[in-house]
Subunit: 129 residues, 2 copies
DNA sequence: CTGAATCCTCTGAGATACTG
DNA sequence: CAGTATCTCAGAGGATTCAG
């Protein structure tokens, strides 16, 4: 439990938002996860991340590169070749996100149950009311 | 740092997405952070979370309630009164998110530097190219 | 006080076609 | 192969208004 008590005023939530804006979008997490396996090329990423479009892969990679989370290496060869990899900071983020994944796994069933319960209550209220 | 090594294939990223869909939206994190201080009423939350609209506060609270992260307690009095609080699961999430905030604080400067550097390079490329 | 309903705008993101 | 450019659409979210 390295987590500080986090009696967060808005300020703390604000800092976290910056991070969530980065990894909370639709694709960043998948890209980071994929690069956790090691250096990959554009087409490899596109193939391995199911459903991502060229455009979104490009946009996502640009964002991550800008924030110093991935590196982009171009080889001036024909046909072109570009390698992507996590930076050191990117790897620490991978670790941090790991705790979130852990939490998700630990509470998936509980969340599903809560949703089912809530939906059932809502449906009943609808029918009765 | 209990974080497992997280050599995540897509499956792991997928599970985390569910969580990020919940806390990664524009307001959930602020609400959770505020409720970390203890039970609050609708109007208190609206006042304390700068810039949130009634609508988004309602929508956000409903989502969090549905997922079993906050509880909603109505008092049938006049004028109406509704209290919101974190559930036990909500408190564990607060803890988990704490590690993310910690990461954010630890790397804010590095990220800012990376952005500045990237933007500078981009501007230069633009000018020269 | 708490919230539902309506309207409106702006951005995220997919599909497609083109370039070095 | 690795992008960029353009079009388009759906959904998020704000402002405002109405109701219990």
């Amino acid at each position: 439990m390295g987590a500080p008590s986090f009696h967060a005023p808005n300020a703390d939530a604000c800092r976290a938002r910056g991070i969530l804006d980065r990894i909370g979008d639709k694709w960043s997490l998948f890209v980071i996860a994929q690069l956790g396996d090691g250096t990959k090329r554009f087409t490899e990423l596109k193939r391995d991340i199911d459903g991502i479009s060229q455009r979104m892969l490009t946009v996502t990679l640009r964002g991550l590169e800008r924030d110093g989370i991935v590196t982009r290496t171009m080889y001036p060869v024909m046909p072109p070749r570009v390698d992507y990899a996590l930076t050191d900071m990117g790897r620490t983020l991978l670790d941090t996100v790991g705790t979130l994944v852990w939490w998700a796994e630990a509470h998936l069933a509980e969340i599903d149950a809560a949703r089912a319960s809530y939906d059932a209550r809502a449906a009943q209220t609808d029918a009765v009311g």
